[in-house]
């Protein structure tokens, strides 16, 4: 007995109803979508209640699944006997492996799968693959979607496609949920494409405006460029991993776990892995708005604000990040992250951080500032993933969802109630803090979270990413990350100042420059370059502002809305800024609260000595429950147990080399560093975790503080005091103007795509093809044609004319005569035809009878 325990510690993992039926989380919104489309218009609330109910049900199941996942994890740590108690306590009695404690076994995901379709023995599954990552994101998506739908109740009230809006929103969430829980690549593609379609529908929600439908098309096509990468990458992975999966894991090359295991097994050639990970990362670039395919994301602001909020916080844009996180072993091996290779992902992430942050400085549309901010933050996530900081990146997805969603909803609240449907910070905002104190407070909390100020959520996650990037040896990217943090502080200060401080301008001051503009949609398509002469005129009133004025007057049928009720009459008259209604404020306040607190689910610096409060690793909940354990698992114990309520799983003993006394050597071997022992597979590489240091925390906080100080000083000097040395600098200084125009034109990337790719690439290509067509192909064709003609002439004169024509003419004559003879029969009278038909049938019947009888 003792000997058995030495080699194989039998492990019972608890499971539960929510874990095994997690597929309901995605199915319920999908059914909700069908119900809204089918019956929504007849419902008392025009279908929005179905959307809300389905998201609420999803959230309940996702919460249940989350709790049961934590119990499952605990049941492994505690040997299965005291599973439930430790779920929320946050403090574990057992030490981690890195602390010299017992081995933390790999926690088997709960996979429930059905065969979707079969093709010559190859089964395409559809189901749920529930592990820490998917539980986290399922809960996040359901939660954010619910809040956004609550917000939309008031925000799009009275919209002419209200029902369709909720239908698309629900399907959109469903698509993300399908993707997040997918157990194989095919399902990932399914969810991915549902989201692509829904983003098109939602961004182009007000398609009457040409700008909006252009933006929707742009989003769709830009993402599609990346989608090609997803298809190619999936195909490469399938052909690479299929043999391994069939032989060892009783699954096929589409299965996520098979791909993970294959990538870490050392079975695939590095070339295959590089190709697959590059192709898949191109998909992630498109979906997650990474440089250079980020251009669609700011234009996606043409959609209604709840859409932007949902799109940019928890769904769609994090799909790319999720894809990388999900099959991380492929990228780990493909880009050689284990050995500190300067990976494609990290480079793109680093470039995106800076490029997008700089663009955020020249935006006057508040939503576009947030959009570029999102792009920049996604760059952080990619940077983290590309340098081996898996957990911080996923953690940043989690916290970023809250504060970015809160910022977007706050922007929506401002335009809804403060600036008369405008999003232009320079024209229609300013001084709004007095009118909208709650929105202002929520905005400030989220801004502090976004910029990474302790103790707000963004600090814990973003600082973790930067810290780990540095600790993994990427010194340059470490400084890029820090610089990005300073830039974030600066552009957010500018946006906050323009929106909430200073003198009210435009609509915020009660001036209605676009009154009567309810039908006046901006129809220009703003893809032309802004020239130097247009500098002053280059700030037209925000397009998305005009786009956000629906045909009906949306906010003024607020019956039953207590917040509107009181001062309803006068706000209708002067449209002055005021605080929004409760349906809008409640989601914002909830999100602001989470922006403040959500960082405490994984406060790594508190776990060590860095901040003087050594709470132990127990406070790192995400590290414990979300990050897959990097222990090898014996083959045969892993496959084919899906759906059983209690699983028996054997854990191989810890390789002796790992338990080295100093922490560094512990990462030299193990999953992802060396190939697993024969008979075992790895599902997750052995990632390093940086040990936080007080000096680094102070450095990053100092950088952020510096950014704030510089930006506040600049804002006061430029916007308030109108310092003559700064105002008009772009007109006076060539360098400043050049830089401003460069940013204002978004690095000319749109022009590049439109003009260079479309004109200079496709046009010469077309010309060359035409030339080739005319000269080479036509020449050959003509040569064949000439000789063919000569042969044809002879045949024509001798055979055709004399023999064939004779026969044809003869038959034609006969047919013609017959036709004339039978012409009377074709009388055009239906009755006569009927009579002929039945007469013929009768004759036929008589013949048959005679034949049969005789």
């Amino acid at each position: 007995m003792l000997a058995v325990e030495d080699t194989h510690a039998a492990l019972e993992l608890s499971s539960g109803w929510f874990l095994e039926n997690a597929w309901l989380i995605a199915l319920i919104p999908a059914i909700g979508f069908a119900l809204i489309i089918g019956f929504g218009k007849k419902m008392p609330m025009k279908g929005s209640e179905i959307g809300l109910a389905s998201m609420a049900a999803s959230l309940v199941i996702a919460t249940g699944a989350g709790i049961q996942w934590m119990q499952r994890t605990d049941s492994a740590s505690h040997g299965g006997d005291e599973a439930i108690g430790g779920a929320f306590s946050g403090v574990r009695g057992v030490l981690r492996a890195s602390e010299g404690g017992e081995v933390e076994p790999y926690i088997e995901p709960v996979v429930t799968q059905w065969v979707w379709w079969q093709n010559s023995g190859l089964e395409f599954g559809l189901g749920s693959h529930i592990d820490g990552l998917s539980v986290l994101l399922l809960w996040l998506v359901a939660f954010i979607s619910l809040l956004v739908q609550v917000f939309s109740l008031d925000y799009v009230r009275g919209d002419r496609r209200y029902t369709h809006f909720f239908a698309a929103l629900t399907l959109f969430s469903s698509g993300m949920l399908v993707m997040v829980m997918s157990s194989n690549m095919v399902q990932i593609i399914l969810g991915w494409e549902i989201m692509g379609l829904c983003s098109f529908m939602l961004i182009g929600h007000w398609w009457e405006d040409a700008y909006n439908s252009h933006s929707a098309l742009k989003a769709f096509f830009t993402v599609r460029v990346g989608d090609v990468g997803l298809l190619v990458g999936t195909a490469i992975l399938f052909f690479g991993a299929n043999d391994f999966a069939v032989a060892n894991l009783d699954s096929n090359g589409f299965d996520i776990r098979a791909i993970q295991a294959w990538a870490l097994s050392g079975d695939g050639s590095s070339w295959t892995l590089i190709m697959a990970s590059s192709a898949l990362f191109i998909a992630a670039i498109g979906k997650s708005g990474q440089f250079p395919l980020h251009t669609w994301l700011p234009d996606a602001m043409a959609g209604p604000t709840p859409v932007s909020s949902l799109l940019h916080s928890s769904t769609m844009v994090v799909a790319g990040v999720f894809l990388v996180a999900r099959i991380y072993p492929v990228f780990w091996e493909g880009f050689n992250i284990a050995n500190g290779g300067l990976s494609f992902i990290a480079i793109i992430g680093g470039i995106t951080i800076v490029v997008a942050a700089l663009l955020a400085f020249v935006q006057d549309d508040i939503k576009k500032v947030l959009a570029y901010s999102t792009v920049s933050q996604l760059g952080y996530m990619m940077l983290g993933l590309g340098t081996g900081a898996w957990l911080p990146a996923v953690f940043h997805v989690f916290t970023h969802a809250f504060f970015k969603c809160c910022l977007f909803l706050a922007a929506g609240s401002i335009s809804h109630s403060g600036s008369h449907h405008s999003f232009d910070m320079k024209k229609d905002m300013g001084g709004l803090r007095k009118f909208m104190p709650i929105t202002f407070g929520a905005w400030c909390v989220s801004t502090l979270a976004l910029t990474g100020v302790i103790p707000f959520a963004g600090f814990w996650s973003k600082d973790e990413i930067i810290d780990n990037v540095g600790a993994n040896g990427y010194t340059f990217l470490f400084w890029v990350g820090l610089g990005g943090a300073a830039l974030t502080a600066m552009y957010m200060t500018r946006a906050t100042y323009l929106t909430f401080f200073g003198e009210p301008r435009g609509a915020a001051a009660g001036i209605h420059h676009d009154d009567g503009g309810h039908d006046e949609y901006a129809t220009e398509f703003r893809e032309t370059a802004i020239r130097s002469a247009d500098l002053v005129a280059a700030l037209p009133r925000s397009l998305s502002a005009a786009a956000n004025v629906p045909g009906d007057d949306i906010e003024h049928d607020a019956e039953g809305d207590p917040a509107h009720g009181g001062h309803h009459a006068d706000e209708h008259d002067d449209h002055g800024p005021h605080e929004s209604g409760k349906l809008i404020l409640v989601p914002i306040v909830i999100l602001a609260f989470l922006a403040l607190t959500s960082g405490f689910v994984n406060p790594t610096p508190l776990a060590g000595d860095a901040l003087g409060a050594n709470l132990g690793e127990g406070v790192e909940l995400l590290k414990k429950y979300v990050e897959p354990r990097y222990e090898p698992v014996a083959i045969g114990e892993t496959a084919g147990h899906a759906g059983e309520s209690v699983q028996l799983l054997e854990v191989t003993p810890l390789p002796a080399a790992e338990a080295g006394a100093d922490g560094k050597d512990a990462y030299a071997t193990g999953c992802g560093r060396t190939d697993p022992e024969p008979g075992t597979v790895c599902y997750f590489p052995k990632v390093k975790h940086a040990v936080p240091e007080l000096s680094k925390i102070l450095l990053s906080l100092g950088v952020v503080a510096l950014g704030y100080a510089a930006a506040i000083g600049f804002c006061i000097a430029f916007y308030k005091n109108k310092n003559p040395r700064l105002v008009g600098l772009t007109e006076r200084s060539r360098i400043a103007r050049g830089g401003y125009l460069f940013l204002k034109n978004k690095y000319y990337l749109d022009l590049l795509y439109q003009n260079v790719f479309v004109y200079f690439v496709s046009r010469p290509l077309a010309k060359a093809t035409y030339w080739f067509n005319q000269n080479v192909i036509d020449g050959a064709v003509n040569g064949v044609g000439t000789s063919g003609k000569k042969a044809g002439d002879w045949v024509y004169n001798n055979i055709d004319q004399k023999i064939v024509d004779g026969a044809v003419n003869a038959s034609g004559t006969v047919a013609s005569e017959t036709g004339h003879g039978l012409q009377p029969v074709q009388s055009g009278k239906v009755n006569q035809y009927g009579a002929l038909l039945f007469g013929a049938a009768t004759v036929g019947a008589i013949v048959l009878v005679i034949l049969n009888v005789s």
Binding site: Q826, S827, G828, K829, V830, N831, G834, F838
Partner: protein, 99 residues
Amino acid sequence: MLAVNFLLLAAVLFCIGVFGVIARRNAVLVLMSIELILAAVNLNFVAFAMMNDNIDGQVFALFVIAIAAAEVGVGLAMVLMIYRNRKSIALDGLSEMKG
């Protein structure tokens, strides 16, 4: 013995139907006559199914009923269009197909 009666009835129905199709000028009546023919055929199917102790004929009859419904739908729609265009549904006026 019984089946023969059915077949006779079907034959009578069929003949009435054929007569209607050939002799009537009103398009709606022609359609009704076609229904009679189909009913006769159905009756035959069921009768033969009974004679041969085989359920297939009854299944066929159900299919024929469904097809007949669809056919009447199309036919009536055409009659309606003809009426709108010509203010008449007399079939002998319709000789555009004359060769």
